[in-house]
Point group: C2
């Protein structure tokens, strides 16, 4: 596994578990013959982080942006009295955040779900790298747009959809993203979210999430246990989630 490779002294990007995504390539440099970037174009600061640790808290000043190389994390918001709303889940290859490309702080907080490997880069360096090349700018722009659309979807979920739809939608978008990551899944996915996390992401309570999951299971739509998800009837889940 990647984390092991890293701890043993391997050069992280040469064994990137996220398939060395486009925007890393255009920032860090293309892979050479032997999988090595010819020379680092900007400073990278790798760090392994334990599960359930806050990486960044909203409105904190920072000079860095964060790339999640391996593991799972999520961004979230919190009310004054501690109620939490998860905004997005990050998997290998995602970065935090578009805000931090423009400003020196973000309104979102960032927290690990599983043990994770992060790469921190200096905002200033990333920015100048982006401005240097139209292609890089386009790639990053696309990521930001995709982010925006995901946020819109979530707004619609929270404002206008009921529990079934929200949970079905969450499961579908997560699995679709995992599918796009390259490795074939055939309906079997790693799924490290606890019911508490699903609840925080869908604006529901853990208890009610549990009930809905039981219902899905009963109807033969999914199997879900011990960090593993199996999609049994994707079509019906799509119908339930009212995906357009």
């Amino acid at each position: 596994m990647f984390l092991k490779h890293f701890r043993e002294g391997g050069r992280p990007c040469s064994a990137c578990p996220a398939g060395y995504p486009q925007f890393c390539q255009s920032l860090v440099g293309p892979k050479g013959e032997h999988g090595e970037p010819p020379q680092p174009v900007l400073a990278q600061n790798f760090e392994v982080i334990e599960p359930q640790r806050n990486i960044y808290l909203r409105n904190a000043k920072t000079e860095d942006i964060y790339v999640l190389c391996d593991g799972w994390a999520f961004t979230f918001l919190q009310t004054g009295d501690g109620r939490r709303q998860i905004v997005s889940f990050l998997v290998g290859g995602d970065f935090f955040s578009c805000d931090l490309l423009i400003d020196d702080s973000s309104g979102l907080s960032l927290r690990t779900l599983t043990k994770s490997l992060f790469c921190r880069m200096r905002r200033a360096e990333v920015r100048s790298q982006i401005l240097k090349s139209d292609e890089t700018w386009n790639i990053v722009g696309k990521v930001c747009i995709a982010n925006e659309r995901a946020k819109n979807d979530l707004l619609l979920d929270l404002g206008r959809r009921n529990a079934d739809e929200r949970i079905a939608h969450l499961i579908l978008t997560l699995t679709e993203r995992l599918d796009r990551l390259g490795t074939p899944h055939n309906g079997n996915y790693p799924f490290p979210l606890r019911q508490q996390d699903i609840a925080d992401a869908t604006g529901l309570t853990p208890v009610h999430v549990g009930r809905m999951i039981s219902k899905f299971r009963e109807f033969g739509l999914i199997e879900l246990s011990a960090g593993h998800l199996r999609l049994l009837n994707r079509a019906e889940l799509v119908r339930l989630g009212r995906i357009d």
Copy 2:
């Protein structure tokens, strides 16, 4: 009023009712001695639009971005079966949208609330204008960040707050924006939203919004009728809205 001035052949920006906001200045050019931009730096296409008209529908290709010079409008999302979620309200000086600066379509739709005056500009021209000047880029960046934060607030509202809090929050953010527009209000605001619109913005039903408004009125927090809002007890409204 501005719309009248415009119909009578006045040059729009010289009598801008939105106080000729920073980002218009840096795009269109600084005001001259007699309130005239020396020469238009980019093409502007003005248009008066009736209340309750769609200006832009999500995912439509467009080469333009839209500036709302006068009136009220809102951006919204819709489910396949027609449920609507309002994302933000636009008042004079706001533009639509940050997405359209990067991409040739947006996930949000745009619709007028009142009779409005819009200015359309070519995305390509705006973009090159932004890239030309660090200052312009910063101003636009700030607007996009503010947008982002407003969206975050809404996510938290829809996911984690109850009806009282959502409505109080909406009223407060709207009035604060109007206050920042320059003209002094002293607790009296134009308020063209119907209860249906408030409902669509807060993820509630019009009936329940009505009940909550009655409650606010009964408690002496606000007066609200005939397109006019008066804040009677702002402090208590802040407490209710749990604004941090």
